[in-house]
Symmetry: C2
Subunit: 446 residues, 2 copies
Amino acid sequence: MDAISQTTETDPARMTASAASALIASRQLSCEELARACLARIARRDGKVRAWLWVDPDHVIRRARELDKLPSKGPLHGIPFGVKDVIDTADYPTTQNSPIYDGARIGRDAACVGIVRGQGALILGKTDTVEFASGGRKALTRNPFNGAHTPGGSSSGSGAAVADFHVPFAFGTQTGGSLIRPASFNGIYALKPSWGLVSREGVRMSSMTLDTVGWYARCVDDLILAASAYRIEADNTPVNVKGLRVGLCVSPVWHQIEPGGEIALQAAAKRLTEAGAIVENLDLPTPFSGLHDAHTAIVNSEGGASFLPEYVNAHALLAPDLRAKVENVLQITRERLLESYTLADSCRPVLDAMFGPSLDVILTPSSAGEAPLGLHTTGDAVFNRMWTLLHAPNVNIPVCRGPANLPVGVTLVGKRLADARLLAIAKAVAPVIDSDPDAGARELWA
Amino acid sequence: MDAISQTTETDPARMTASAASALIASRQLSCEELARACLARIARRDGKVRAWLWVDPDHVIRRARELDKLPSKGPLHGIPFGVKDVIDTADYPTTQNSPIYDGARIGRDAACVGIVRGQGALILGKTDTVEFASGGRKALTRNPFNGAHTPGGSSSGSGAAVADFHVPFAFGTQTGGSLIRPASFNGIYALKPSWGLVSREGVRMSSMTLDTVGWYARCVDDLILAASAYRIEADNTPVNVKGLRVGLCVSPVWHQIEPGGEIALQAAAKRLTEAGAIVENLDLPTPFSGLHDAHTAIVNSEGGASFLPEYVNAHALLAPDLRAKVENVLQITRERLLESYTLADSCRPVLDAMFGPSLDVILTPSSAGEAPLGLHTTGDAVFNRMWTLLHAPNVNIPVCRGPANLPVGVTLVGKRLADARLLAIAKAVAPVIDSDPDAGARELWA
């Protein structure tokens, strides 16, 4: 699904951002045409997929026309973005899928939104999310591959909107596995950048240590395109899959793997080996096995501070599982929290140091398996939490379908702050391990 | 300056929050009377002190009357707070002292504000600040003790407003020394809580690793009162100054001390020793001497991500020193940033472990000396940066006047997350080391 083949598509909504960007730059496609194509797709599909909370077509068209009048602001000029509704936007409400903030308008873009808007991006609307990206209510969004299944969460609407060709880009956030897991479930690409590279200003806070903003796209080139807006400059050092040193990490929670996740990880490893990569098992040092529980302690303790405003001001409307964080129902002591911080802080440089002559990238599951049946769940972040806590960059790459014919991906993990290198590796690796033959042209359930 | 002596004051604006709270609870003082007293003080003084950017007296009186009609929401009911103008408020603009956000209204309280407002606090207005609490323009605020001197920064207006009896409480933020240094320069108390205990949601982000919300007050009891709103529960285990184990830490930057800072530290140590405390020199392990430079690397690198939205959208209006962060003028490499993270991460548990049978609290300078002359500077955070990076709780306690007859304080440092214990120690220690004889009744320059 590279940029060139996409230009042969007649529906601009199905183009990658990179392909559309090239056509807009050469005046073969207008911002308005692209916007209308995305809006038409949403109009046709979102009654079923329910990815969006707020889209104002008239407003979007006006903005697109304005962009068509302006000189280009760069490669994102006119490119549509969806925004998870825990992220503030100047022109739409930010409800956080909470009744407490029903219809709430802030009037200021979150940093991540303002940065791409200032470079010409077209903010299409707001996508449904698990309440506060943390607990409480689920999104209404359905998996585009099978409406009986969840698209994952908490970035439910963003993942489904990109998979279902509503937008080429959407922002999500990850505290546990809220970016990578929906990418796996929806057969798309995602970047969870290194902690600190993308400002979280204007994004609902859940955990100071864990919250990370990232984005979805339908190819690695697009992930790189969006990254460049955040000054994560493209790494053009050649990557040869032949000889690439890949550490296969089944992770300390491998006992929770499901058939779909196992098939995807094995398929990715096999394809990489066949392409000449050197795939070797990577055993993490023993202390890493404590990171999963450390994540639990941190996310619950820090959540207590994060949800205190709603606990004080809107107690009855705050979901019980979020009230439980404020009340410290898990009885996490200060000493336990300090131990958790210290464990994570000490593991991060150990992970950093693994990368070098004997390791280019880590390959690990993105999800236990395929998207679970039902909308009462968004699946489990069990395979993501450790990497979030380690602050390392993660990319999801789709691999194959599982037993239920739903997509499953794998995660590539890079060295902290070496996001550009990870993206370059992902770009080389993706054509090898992403086997979905009809990804660009697929017609999803109707 | 304890609560009881304050109740003898006739001007409610000079009362501590604890004293006013007791009178409001017993209906001897109305919320409106307290608000009017604060507004009168502001009307009389702020033409000179210039602590405030936004105060709407009519709005404040309406809110106060509303609070007088309501049943008490707790000990903060009717207690006025000033809010540093990098912190969002539902009812005032948040300009961040930047021309980019001149008059900008958000319509939503930052977490720290919503939490006290929901417990009855009266938000009085917004206080002047260094631009974005980070660089660029200084506040117009003058030091209440001598208008020719800075009140410090970046929480300039908040520090001066509390010192000059405009409000009993004001919020500030600290990334380097922006809470503790103004407290030292203005002869007041401040708590910089442990990182993570108080949500930063809705507070202008400058550095994800460093930014911390805290508050000013005119006594330790008031610091404790505000802390309780954030579920930092009072620690009522008795503290006996006799036998208290105090580690005197001149810090790795002692060569930058000035006469005022040295006098204050020595006076505090001497008074504690005379009161029976066991004051012994505390030598920090060698790696701690790298923390100051690590702070520089982190604050500049993370600032690059934080100021990118303005760099993209309002380049000409962003101050050159903030543009320099985005442009990485200091040429901080990723490896240098990782080393800085790792150093800080490894020092934190070492500091935690120092506390125990042989150490109750650390005593260290709050500022190099007295407030410098002129409003072109806010002084230097050199004595604060290390502690901010260590995420440990800090309390400033006023000690004495320096050679220029301006206040100088000292910092008490506690174990991470043991803020309640630190506050209990500060309460016991303050009467011993705070010698300003006329603190409660002082009339400042007119």
